[in-house]
């Protein structure tokens, strides 16, 4: 890694960060001028904490030792300009922030002050190192405005005047993230620190944001320190990769080398856990990406949902939706929100249906309707032949017994004041007559079934890891041997290695118990791994529905194609091909 001539922009050596317990242990890595270095790792690996140490933005409880040296100049003899950032003064950090290293953070909604316009906030960044005590004078009003508008344009926002006058709540996540990038560019920094810049965004928006960052790096030579857990994002953008595990750097290599010849066992494991979309490999083998995508443009752009006839429909499907519509009445004066519109869908016994779509597409709404948690505004919902709207009390009760639900965030779906055992036992207590002892035995059996130590029954949710908690939620959902399992983004809150094991568990349980499953996810690769059939949802409608392999490898609807094309693959070469193919289609 030291083959670059001259001093790296940022050299981190033996960095230790501790909040009472150590968060980063003896980490050493570098950020080269004009290159993208990715800090990769799972939650708690110390990657974000390391990046915040560079900006001096750690909370006061942190102790930092070691060395972070910033070299503004790589000419020999320019050593005197070097700045040590560990233990630097508040003034030093203030001089560095924004002007040399700027920050693009994870949650675009929370990163903006809700009561100031975006224009004001970006203007503040422009002026941060101007005026009294600084070399350059402050810009006057009109210069400032045109500078702000220019920055928004550069970050790919088309209507800079409107964006500048808007408050954060009036814009979408993608717009806010672009605007954050604009703000990060305000002082022409040497490097941008991007902390999970696309994690909160939909896959198509993510692709656009990554394009913006790549363009800036190419045009301005801005280095990027990219913090991410997503190997697809790494493959798409990074030049160098630093893999962190439990506060330690386990591997530091150029991106091509890391993906083709990972050396550390943890890197190997990490890469192996990433679910991959077969479609991408199909693209690589044989049909070139460009031909594959441009061939599609011949078909009509917005044809009606393509439903494959080859889905076999037995007499009584587990779930049947007929023209289901859900309309949330808008707040006074606002237009009503159509969350589902004329949805027809069936799930056969034992079928795993993957429901994919971006945020706001209505997929979670549909899951709630099928789970009986939300009444549709129109249409019919039949679960096991029972019409949920006109079901008797007993029928509804029976249906609840045969439907299990697993939600996204196990931390908030398990009662924090109940022991794990009590949570898992609750469905048994409500729907069966078995006595205490039998119930305890069943709970122990269920915990074993989801690969947890039965002794955990005495513990409380906060004592468990995220993966363990989701296993508990799954145990609770299958406690009554359901005929239908609804899983709403069950692995989205989990680290990738944990996700892999939870998915394997779900597959195994499904094979054993034979329940039908509605699997909601925004991650196409995850869906491909678990689902027999896939339905793609956009703006409340199903636009494509068919066997998983067909839908994801040969998508017919334009929107499905866009989704498949936008999902980054954990392979730098393949990802470049796909990216170029995507651009070719756009151009």
């Amino acid at each position: 890694m030291d083959d670059q001539s001259g001093a790296p922009l940022l050299r981190v050596r033996d960095l230790d960060i501790s909040f009472g317990s150590p968060a980063v242990r003896g980490a050493s890595w570098q950020l080269q001028r004009g290159r993208v270095t990715a800090l990769v790792g799972e939650s708690g690996s110390g990657k974000s904490v390391s990046a915040m140490a560079v900006l001096g933005l750690l909370p006061g409880t942190a102790t930092v030792t070691g060395s972070i040296v910033f070299s503004p100049d790589d000419r020999p003899g320019a050593d005197s300009d070097r700045t040590e950032l560990v233990g630097a003064s508040a003034d030093t950090f203030r001089a560095v922030r924004g002007a040399i290293f700027s920050l693009v953070s994870q949650e675009p909604m929370g990163a903006w002050n809700p009561v100031l316009t975006l224009g004001d906030q970006v203007a503040e960044a422009v002026q941060a190192h101007r005026g009294r005590g600084h070399r350059s004078p402050p810009l006057d009003r009109s210069d400032l405005r045109s500078r702000v508008h220019h920055l928004f344009t550069e970050a790919g926002l088309r209507d800079p005047a409107r964006i500048a006058g808007s408050f954060p709540h009036q814009l979408s996540g993608g717009q806010l993230q672009r605007a954050l990038i604009a703000m990060a560019l305000a002082q022409d920094p040497v490097a941008i620190i991007a902390d999970e810049p696309t994690t909160a965004l939909d896959v198509t928006v993510q692709a656009e944001i990554l394009d913006v960052l790549r363009r800036l790096q190419a045009e301005r030579g801005t280095a990027v320190l990219l913090i991410t857990h997503d190997m697809g994002v790494v493959a798409d953008l990074a030049d160098d990769v630093v893999v962190m595990q439990q506060g330690r750097v386990v591997e530091h290599a150029p991106v091509g080398e890391l993906f083709s010849r990972p050396r550390h066992p943890y890197t190997v494991q990490l890469l192996a856990s990433v679910p991959r979309l077969e479609a991408h490999h199909a693209t690589a083998a044989g049909v070139s990406g460009t031909a594959h995508l441009s061939g599609q443009t011949a078909s009509p752009a917005d044809h009606p949902p393509t439903t494959d006839r080859e889905i076999t429909e037995p007499d009584l499907p587990t779930v049947r939706l007929e023209q289901v519509g859900v309309v949330h009445p808008g707040r006074k004066g606002a237009a009503p929100v159509v969350a589902a519109d004329g949805v027809d869908l069936t799930i056969s016994p034992g079928e795993v249906l993957g429901l994919v779509g971006e945020s706001g597409s209505g997929k979670s709404t549909l899951a709630q309707v099928i789970g009986g948690l939300l009444a549709p505004t129109s249409g019919r919902v039949l679960v096991d032949g029972v019409d949920l709207q006109h079901a008797t009390r007993a029928q509804r009760n029976g249906r609840r017994r045969t439907t299990g639900i697993v939600f996204q965030d196990p931390a908030s779906t398990l009662n924090p004041r109940w022991s794990v055992g009590r949570s898992v036992a609750e469905p048994l207590r409500l729907h069966t007559d078995i006595d205490d002892r039998a119930r305890r035995e069943r709970v122990a059996g269920l915990l074993e079934r989801v690969r947890l130590d039965p002794a955990l029954a005495q513990r409380f949710p906060h004592e468990l890891s995220g993966g363990q908690r989701q296993r508990v939620a799954i145990a609770r959902a299958v406690a009554l041997r359901p005929r239908l399992l609804i899983a709403d983004e069950p692995t989205s809150a989990l680290d990738v290695s944990v996700q892999a094991s939870v998915l394997a568990l779900l597959e195994e349980l499904q094979a054993d118990l034979g329940f039908a499953c509605l699997f909601v996810s925004h991650n196409l690769a995850v869906v491909e791994q678990v689902a027999d059939t896939v339905a793609v949802m956009k703006s409340g409608s199903i636009v494509e529905h068919g066997p998983a392999a067909r839908v994801l490898q040969d998508p017919r609807h334009e929107y499905t194609r866009a989704l498949v094309a936008a999902a980054p693959v954990p392979d730098p070469h393949l990802q470049r091909e796909r990216r170029e193919a995507r651009w070719a289609v756009k151009a």
Binding site: L55, L57, R97, G98, N113, P114, V115, E124, F167, Q170
Partner: protein, 333 residues
């Protein structure tokens, strides 16, 4: 346009609330055993005199008609009695106190500047002191300063205002002889004496609220300072004082302002204990007087007036809130 419609809607609901309040007040006082005519009739009270008094006070009407006359009187004024024994109560008439022989509106307006002086002065004090010490405590989180301020705040919340008031009078009024111990001088007569007479009540009244505001400001500030948007602001490289005022405090101001308008509105209805301790004749004292002497028209009038101020404070909160917080701004998408 939308703002005008919003305001009209709010004012309409304000009027409705006041009607309900006055109706309930009337209903309650009719159910009370006290008969104002009995009290006014004096001794010896013959049935004839009692009847005359009743008719004079218009107590012979059914109670809902009395209420209707009361509401109408606010707009048109009222006249009691006939011929030589005639009392007029000009609009806006909130009733007529036969005991004090004066229109209730006049009585209230005579006392309101006193109460307003106490309330506004105290409000300015507690807002400044509470927010300032809350911000300092948050910025010095976990230090001796923070802990000291929090101990002071808990003491302030716990100390009853009559105790603090009496101790203040004892120390500053008698022992040190720095301030007058009671009474009130109107601002127009002598601004210096006005302040001099009110400074102790202000401090006593402000103490409790300042303590509450310190705690709330501190909590809100700590939350704001650990928020993502404050981190973003710091990452721009702007100075810490600007981060604190423009980003953190600007957001903290929203809940504080809401609370402040409501507290001030409540206080404008009369600071009963403080007025009693410092022997100041404000609205609170008037109300206590009315209760003590079963002066029903005065009670009803003061109650409705107080309710009006509190409802108006709520309206002010809505307007100010929408000015401070763009997320609830009226007339915007």
């Amino acid at each position: 346009m939308k703002l005008a419609r919003f305001l009209l809607g709010r004012i309409a609901s304000l009027v409705f609330v006041l009607l309900v309040v006055s109706l309930l007040t009337y209903a309650v006082f009719v159910l009370l055993p006290a008969d104002p005519a009995q009290l006014a009739c004096g001794k010896p009270c013959t049935p004839e005199r009692l009847q005359t008094a009743r008719e004079f006070m218009q107590l012979d009407h059914p109670w809902f008609q009395q209420w209707f006359d009361f509401v109408r009187g606010i707009f048109t004024g009222r006249t009691f009695g006939t011929g030589g024994a005639q009392f007029t109560c000009p609009a806006p008439c909130l009733g007529y106190s036969f005991r004090l022989n004066a229109p209730v509106t006049e009585l209230i307006l005579g006392r309101f500047p006193v109460t307003a002086s106490i309330a506004l002065g105290a409000a300015v004090l507690w807002l400044l002191a509470g927010v300032a010490s809350g911000v300092v405590a948050a910025l010095r989180h976990g230090t001796v300063i923070d802990r000291g301020l929090m101990v002071a705040a808990i003491t302030g919340v716990s100390a009853p205002s009559y105790l603090v008031g009496l101790l203040g009078i004892l120390l500053f009024g008698f022992t040190l002889d720095m301030v007058p111990v009671s009474g009130y001088v109107p601002f127009r007569e002598s601004p210096v004496d006005w302040v001099w007479h009110l400074v102790l009540p202000w401090v006593v009244l402000a103490l409790l609220n300042a303590a509450i505001y310190t705690r709330i400001t501190r909590g809100q500030m700590l939350e704001a300072l650990s928020s993502d948007y404050v981190r973003t602001a710091r990452a721009k490289g702007i100075g810490e004082s600007r981060v604190v005022t423009r980003h953190a405090l600007r957001n903290v101001a929203i809940p504080i302002t809401t609370l402040f308008a409501l507290d001030l509105g409540g206080l404008l209805g009369g600071a009963v204990i403080t007025e009693r301790v410092f022997s100041i004749a404000g609205l609170g004292a008037l109300l206590m007087d009315a209760v003590g002497s079963t002066d029903v028209p005065l009670l009803v009038g003061v109650t409705v007036f107080t309710a009006a101020i509190i409802v108006a404070a709520n309206l002010a909160v809505d307007v100010v809130y929408s000015l401070l917080d763009p997320r609830v701004r009226v007339g915007r998408p």
